[in-house]
């Protein structure tokens, strides 16, 4: 992205915004910027904000108070080589809950983005022992990549009627999916796509066990 030249004064305003966020945890109002910068009119802040927005340094959420989002140029680069990203741990609630809803997030954990070779989107805490023979035990964290690109034999995270499960995936025919556990005590789950709802949450990428 090409960012037009920022003027010294606009840079001051931009920095003042960054400092404000760092200190308070939320962005400033026009009035706050005025106080920091010594302006007497909120419109001084407003016009600076519009200029910064036009030049691509910030985005402004219309109508929202404190709706300033600093678009940090370095963030992209930073994130590529960065030490860690933060990934949510999602509890595998037995049934009835939308899987990735924020309320199911146990916590965020730092982890290098390329930790498992492939990229991934979240950690899922495993319940049950249906994948025991694949070395996936209760309370393990599996790194899940949100994707629909899965092959027969992949371990996937699937949802059938709000019930989330981790199993081997295979699709023997166009309207049938078989989810196979890695534990003789469990049976295969056969899904008839003509009559049943099936949603593929993602693909198993790696595993972490905290002992």
């Amino acid at each position: 992205m090409i960012m037009k030249d920022i003027t010294p004064q606009q840079n001051k305003v931009l920095n003042c915004i960054k400092v404000y966020i760092k200190e308070t945890g939320f962005p400033p109002t026009r009035s706050d910027i005025c106080k920091e910068m010594g302006f007497r009119s909120p419109n001084s802040a407003e016009t600076h904000l519009r200029a910064l927005e036009k030049k691509g340094f910030i985005s402004i959420a219309s109508g929202a108070s404190r709706g300033i989002l600093v678009i940090d140029e370095e963030k992209g680069f930073y994130e590529e080589t960065a030490e860690t990203d933060s990934y949510p741990i999602i509890g595998l609630v037995a049934a009835g809950s939308p899987t990735l809803a924020s309320e199911n997030i146990e916590k965020q954990v730092p982890c290098p983005p390329n930790f498992f070779g492939s990229s991934f989107d979240y950690f899922l805490r495993v319940k049950g022992l249906s994948m025991k023979d694949a070395g996936i035990m209760e309370d393990d964290l599996i790194a899940v990549q949100k994707t629909h690109d899965v092959k027969n034999g992949d371990i996937v995270v699937a949802r059938i009627d709000d019930e989330v499960t981790v199993k081997y995936f295979s699709k023997p025919s166009s309207d049938k999916i078989v989810l196979e556990p890695a534990n003789d005590d469990f049976s295969d789950i056969e899904v008839d796509l003509r009559s049943e709802e099936f949603f593929l949450e993602g693909k198993y990428i790696g595993l972490i066990r905290e002992n």
Copy 2:
């Protein structure tokens, strides 16, 4: 810092705030929380916020819009130490090699130091399936803490005559150590400390599987 117990619902609200900030860059209003949580009254959000404040999870800037600051217990720690350390992956070479010699280092991988709760010193690449029933599979990386402080039942990394092995540890008497596999196809290893050399490399702390 002692934080009083958070209720499940309060945790939902807290997570919803965190997600909102992550997605928009600024904290939600009471109304925003209502939308996310499905409340019909802004006072529902308000009371939850006050409860979260009372319990020390957030602070609220009086009078300010979106004045919610998430006091992430882990954040301070997180931000300070979030830079990953570099840990060596050591190949579990069958025999004849001093374990931690540099020639056995496959590569260095970045990982947050507190990734497994306890600190650890290196990763060991597992060979064989002797710990299969404990969910430790071939080529898994186990995080090992160099220590001699192990209890019966711990999984340890031990060396007997230059041979390195991962097993359950138990010490039934002062001159006897038993290393027990988690796989019926393998037998216990009994070490007589009066006649055999035994070296405890460390303790199993956690596990990573790259798929």
